[in-house]
Symmetry: C2
């Protein structure tokens, strides 16, 4: 019923390619039956769907290489896919008909505790990495909300963030090397697996490239020590404005919390209905504030934060009493998106960024968009980063309401850019933000990016139809570039 | 007298180009007199020298753009140059005859305290950035030893590190956007100036590209809060082995010091002779250990470190009593390279990396190389990072000794690679490490890097003859790539 980009179509496969692929990955490593292929029709971005013609599930880098070499010979484009938890349609199987799914590549090849790094294959689940090294006092810091399902390959492709991005940085800050199968089936290693890089930083380019440069089959990940102690606090406010002013004040006080998350009234109500954590449903907004570090300093920092919260109008600030309460609090936050399903038949999560100080302004703009388009919009986001996630609630069976939802989302992103921000913080561009990318960058900037992509993927067969408005190979024309306004 | 790459030659300038450049930058912005040009014959890597044909000192991005456009029309290659403090010959004016020196671009265009960022032009001195924002409780974290002279443009080009890299990361971790003048004179902005990047991470590629992609004219830099408190300690050991075991033990205890530096007997003696700090000259090695953070936690952490030091054989551990003593300690460390000038007529500083746990092994290899080649080698390095800086002492008037110095340096780098490390930690490749780059990467990896460079610099006119063994444009042939061994 959705009026825009309803269902896309994959291009046809040449005769014989499916058999050739089956010979490489074995009969249990290929999906060709229509019912089974439907599982792969979209990721967490459901506004556009496309059923692939064939899905392969290789077990080794060698198999990935042979699959891509076969696709290369046949001239067939492909889509890398991890766990399918992406939120911008990055693994939509259109126009490419062949999905290369790395979810069966689940080995942790090496754990190097002394040098704090681990080599994980693409299909290793994010949370598994931290589980494996916890006994050694280490963790893998990036923690997307989907961390119990999403995989390292997808995290690298999307350069995923998470609540703890504020203190620890996003995926790219924790990837020391990647093993990449190029679109012609050749295997390269980028990065040397140690912190100080040598040569051009190609690892950084592949992080966040959303599969447009080939298939990442393994990554060397940096580990960080588990903090000695963690304190998690919940602060309750009457208004979103008070909560955002508190965020600015905490940061201005020189405190870098491990996480600083906000949920507004709409989200709190949904989360409370789903998880019964005990959130006050009459609150205008709540902040989840986590600090970590040495035991000795933590109590003092927590007290300072409590004072800042109270000064800025918090009606209540409470510290999680124990690990169970802390876990419950985070579960509520991390499953907020799921809980929202109770509020409306459909919802669309936007992902934008503004400089932290512009949070009050963007929230006012979101409220204005909500009123103008007669739509409920909930807000749950990484406040410390300025990374907003307005959730636009609508009913996709109503074309007019759907159109208004789309318009509201677009207005919010334009507002992010006007306030000096960006149109995606952590969900990627995929198919969702292709148009918006053109708002942030001029044609000359995009041409430069396309030419970099063409270095890895000269034929434009690696996840075409993503990121850039028009798929395909390198645009060679050199349009005049915009004068930089830094 | 040095037998290798003694003096290089710049190619000749076409007639009229110098006049055209003078018209752009004005008579006070161009250097053409032989005596003045000699100042630009090398950077901190003095083994190779080349006098440029012309040096321009533009004041604005517009002037840089017009200079590069003129060079483009004339088909002339150019060398970007900052303060000339580089250590690998990255701004050697050969074969390119035209030096574009950004040292007069000294504006700090914007200070955004609330969002913790600053826009600095390429010629702003590193330490100046921190000075400007200190009153606001902020700092720019990367702190190369040359920070009172080196400039942001050069820091970006070399992706510079420093003692505080251990905790805070290198330059690329603190650059949110760059303004880059491409080799044809067009100006682009890479990155959007906020932490969560959008599109491919081209900022990361330009950081550390050593000027081979154009001239960086400004950068948006991330600021971090000044720590509430800092404690700096000096630990004295009888042997280097005890000191490196202590380094491993501190890290293994889950402590991340702000800095963790080692100096061996040779360096301590030189530093003491120069600065009279009061170092025990009979010590086999000293560690400078700095921790920072909240006041409350710091004393406990310092005590834990003191215990670890004592357990591992430290004869003495002392905390800097006040800011003056702390400053003196860092001054000694940061000027160690200069102090070494007292020990021998010539010295060559190597820059390599090993995984932290392999420090004892690499130090044993350095000692063996020292004995085998009958050369004194001092060690001063970022121990926490595994980033070694053996300083090979020799007399360049003695060709045999010079040859042995070169051989020893090369052996040490090969040993770094054998131990799973890298051939440069923070000094870059420049002309010094071009051969060694080929030890770390296969021809296929280098071809990929060359093709990325060609996206920015299709004619190969941006700092040719650096990084890659053979200068020039993109190598289009696709040699078989090595199977990755991650």
């Amino acid at each position: 019923m959705w009026y825009r980009r309803a269902v896309s179509t994959s291009i046809a496969l040449p005769t014989g390619l499916a058999d050739e692929l089956a010979a490489i990955v074995g009969p249990d490593g290929i999906v060709t039956a229509a019912a089974s292929l439907a599982v792969y029709e979209c990721d967490g971005y459901t506004l556009e769907r496309a059923i692939p013609r064939v899905v392969v599930l290789p077990r080794t880098t060698g198999e990935v290489a042979r699959v891509l070499a076969a696709a290369h010979r046949a001239g067939v484009p492909f889509v890398p896919r991890g766990a399918g938890t992406g939120l911008s349609g990055g693994c939509l199987a259109a126009p490419a008909p062949l999905v290369v799914c790395t979810s069966r590549m689940r080995s942790i090849r090496a754990v190097d505790v002394a040098n704090r790094r681990v080599v994980a294959e693409a299909g290793v689940v994010n949370a598994e990495v931290s589980r494996v090294v916890r006994a050694a006092g280490l963790q893998y810091a990036p923690d997307p909300s989907s961390q119990n399902a999403c995989t390292i390959g997808g995290n690298v492709a999307e350069n995923s963030g998470g609540p703890h991005t504020l203190k620890y940085g996003v995926t790219t800050n924790h990837v020391l090397a990647v093993e990449l199968v190029l679109p012609d089936g050749e295997v390269v290693t980028l990065g040397d697996g140690i912190d100080d890089g040598l040569g051009y930083d190609l690892t950084g380019v592949v992080c966040g490239a959303e599969g447009t440069m080939g298939v990442v089959t393994a990554a060397t990940l940096r580990l960080v020590p588990l903090p000695e102690a963690v304190t998690t606090m919940l602060a309750v406010f009457a208004t979103v404005a008070e909560a955002t002013a508190t965020v600015s004040a905490i940061i201005a006080a020189g405190i870098i919390p491990a996480a600083l998350e906000m949920m507004d009234r709409t989200i709190v109500a949904a989360v409370e209905a789903a998880f019964h954590f005990g959130f006050p449903t009459d609150a205008g907004a709540v902040l989840i504030i986590e600090i970590d570090g040495d035991t000795a300093g933590l109590d003092g920092t927590a007290t300072r934060i409590e004072t800042i919260c109270s000064t800025h109008g918090a009606s209540r600030v409470r510290r999680a009493a124990d690990e169970a309460e802390r876990a419950a609090l985070w579960k509520s936050r991390k499953r907020a998106f799921g809980a929202v399903g109770r509020l409306a038949p459909s919802y669309c999560t936007q992902d934008g960024v503004v400089p932290r100080t512009r949070l009050p302004e963007i929230l006012a703009r979101i409220e204005a968009a909500s009123a103008r388009h007669r739509l409920r919009i909930g807000n749950v986001f990484h406040a410390g980063d300025g990374n907003i996630h307005p959730i636009v609630l609508y009913d996709e069976r109503d074309p007019d309401e759907s159109a208004r939802a789309l318009a509201a989302g677009r207005e919010i992103l334009v507002a992010c850019l006007e306030l000096g921000g960006s149109v995606t913080g952590e969900h990627g561009i995929g198919v969702e933000k292709m148009t918006e990318l053109g708002l942030a960058f001029g044609p000359e900037d995009l041409a430069l990016m396309r030419r970099v992509r063409a270095v890895f993927d000269p034929d434009g067969r690696a996840n075409p139809g993503k990121i850039f408005p028009t798929p395909g190979v390198c645009v060679e024309q050199r349009a005049p570039r915009r004068q930089a306004a830094l």
